[in-house]
């Protein structure tokens, strides 16, 4: 296992895309310590900012308040990245495999444009979770992001496939211009959920404000929700699906596009 402990609070953001199993798995201790990171506009060595233990492993642990460390786990495809504390923006962006576990909070662009793997956040996440970067045609194309706490704006913006589950409330524009995949909002959302969505599913366990361009269809218990529920329960998020507990009211939209998406709002018995 490789252990990195942040030496002291950072005065300005640190860009550290090298903090990923793909980069470190084959490196000896000294090579890891010498990896380049960027503190503001200056290039530094990893060991200028972190105390480094271990070598040659795809199990990487980062300790300390890394809320100003950007791009951790960028494009990672393997292994396990554990963050004991907070992480900064772009955590797991472009990742294609492996698992990231965060005990604290994360910044914006968590798992942006990821294509596979699992991200698990115990605290809160920022905005643009699993989203497309500005101008890009699509956001995450596969994989799973599970957030126990809240999340910010534009969760799952332009996502194509994969699953995002959020335990706390999310802010505006969840599922903005969504192209596919599944977003589960266990504590609902603020405004404009599903705005301009083409395809895909947004599930809310709490009532949410609807855009005028969404039309109610029917109340039912779609079988696939039982699969989603089973998938998420293994990740510690309970989602109801059984008739005994209630049913989902299906809205279709967004008619502004016009889109074939759906928002499923849970109606307990």
């Amino acid at each position: 296992m490789i252990r990195l402990v942040l030496r002291e609070p950072l005065p300005v953001p640190l860009e550290a895309e090298v903090l990923s199993p793909d980069v470190m798995a084959t490196l000896a201790h000294d090579a890891i310590r010498a990896l380049p990171v960027f503190l503001g506009k200056h290039r530094r060595r990893v060991d200028d900012c972190f105390r480094v233990e271990g070598e040659k492993s795809d199990e990487v642990t980062i300790e300390g308040d890394a809320s100003r460390v950007k791009w951790i786990g960028r494009g990672m495809s393997r292994g396990r990245l554990t963050i004991a504390g907070n992480a900064g923006m772009h955590l797991g962006a472009y990742m294609s495999g492996g698992a990231i576990e965060v005990s604290g909070d994360t910044g914006d662009w968590l798992g942006a444009e990821m294509s596979g793997g699992l991200i698990r956040v115990r605290g809160n996440a920022g905005g643009q979770v699993g989203a497309a970067y500005r101008g890009s045609p699509k956001g995450m194309t596969d994989g799973t992001i599970v957030i126990d706490g809240t999340a910010g704006l534009e969760v799952g913006m332009r996502m194509k496939r994969g699953t995002i589950a959020v335990g706390g409330q999310v802010r505006d524009f969840a599922g903005l211009q969504m192209l596919g995949g599944t977003i589960v909002l266990r504590a609902g959302a603020e405004l404009r959920t599903g705005a301009w969505m083409m395809r895909g599913t947004i599930v809310s366990l709490e009532p949410i404000p609807m855009l005028p361009t969404f039309a109610p269809a029917a109340e039912y218990n779609p079988t696939f929700m039982r699969l989603v529920a089973r998938h998420l329960s293994r990740l510690g998020h309970r989602v109801p699906a059984a008739e005994a507990e209630g049913a989902y009211l299906r809205y279709t939209g967004d008619a502004a596009v016009p889109g074939k998406g759906e928002i499923l709002v849970w109606r307990p018995r």
Partner: protein
């Protein structure tokens, strides 16, 4: 996807028979807009001027601009996105939920009427102001207007234009695009330009306290920023170039008084439609121009050991050009 469908103001003057102002108060904030470009001007294909044009104002309150409008649509604060999205659906003949529409403060009938008029227009234009782009929904509100405009072109000629704020915002936007490839929210710390509004835009940097110095030109963030941002400006070395004392200059470490561009300093300004206009100073100023101050700062910096960005990260593989 939408995009941006726009034109220079002369096109509006010569052709527009349907003019929408959304989230702005041109009568007071852009006093010459009506007379010079849009409303009362006689245009080549609008020989009767005002009589040949229909004006709609969409805003949250009845400003003096409403008096100039043929139709005033009062939308509830923060519901512009809902209205624009509804219009997008109506333009395509899609059904919308009447009751939810009503929550915007406008009725379905009003919006359907607006859509019919838009489609009936020969040349339509939407000017959207900061009442739209700076309220809840921000860039998505603008995005809604841009997309609506693009989609209207399947039926008739339609364009739109943002009404920006103080200072030559458009000019900065234009120059940054050709020098860095991006209009704003740009970071150069890795030796080349990167763009990410929300990460690199000024207000977000200041509120998060990500920057350890600030040079401020032609703007007064101290008057408009959220409190944490203002506190950060006061905390770090902040330098302000401005002809007058501003909220920002008061909290800055250094305030360089400069000549007022356009009055006592020349240069080029870009109009809201990105047309460059030469500025010819009418007065002489005892103060240096912004340009001169910046040049002298650069010369002073150049005498210090140069910082040259170092490659080595994985962020942006410098491969064969794509």
């Amino acid at each position: 996807m939408g995009g941006k469908v726009t034109c220079t103001l002369g096109e509006v003057k010569n052709r527009a028979d349907f003019i929408v102002y959304w989230g702005g108060n041109p009568a007071e904030c852009h006093p010459r807009h009506f007379t010079k470009y849009t409303l009362t001007q006689k245009g080549r294909f609008v020989p009767n001027g005002r009589k040949g044009r229909t004006m709609v104002l969409v805003d949250i309150r009845e400003t003096p601009s409403a008096r100039a409008a043929d139709i005033f649509l009062q939308v509830r604060p923060g519901r512009d996105f809902e209205v624009a999205t509804t219009l997008r659906a109506l333009v395509k003949g899609q059904r919308v939920d009447e009751a939810t529409v009503a929550e915007t403060g406008l009725t379905l009938a009003q919006l359907q009427d607006l859509v019919d008029r838009m489609k009936g227009a020969r040349f339509g234009v939407i000017f959207f102001g900061m009442g739209l782009s700076m309220t809840r929904g921000k860039h998505m509100n603008s995005g809604a207007i841009l997309t609506l405009t693009a989609e209207l072109n399947a039926f008739t000629k339609f364009v739109c234009m943002p009404m920006r704020g103080h200072g030559n915002v458009t000019g900065a936007d234009v120059v940054l695009r050709w020098t860095t490839g991006y209009p704003f929210g740009i970071d150069l710390s890795r030796g080349y330009s990167r763009f990410n509004p929300g990460e690199f835009s000024t207000v977000d940097l200041l509120v998060r306290g990500d920057n350890d110095a600030a040079l401020i030109l032609g703007a007064d963030p101290g008057a408009t920023m959220p409190q944490p941002g203002i506190e950060h400006l006061a905390r770090i070395p902040t330098i302000v170039l401005d002809p007058k004392v501003t909220h920002t200059s008061r909290l800055a470490r250094v305030h360089v008084t400069t000549a007022a561009t356009g009055i006592s300093a020349g240069g080029t300004a870009y109009r809201m439609d990105e047309i460059p206009l030469p500025l010819r100073p009418a007065l002489v100023s005892p103060y240096p121009t912004d340009e001169e101050v910046i040049r002298r700062i650069r010369e002073a910096v150049a005498r210090k050991p140069a910082w040259v960005p170092e490659p080595g990260g994985l962020l942006e593989p410098v491969a064969r050009p794509v």
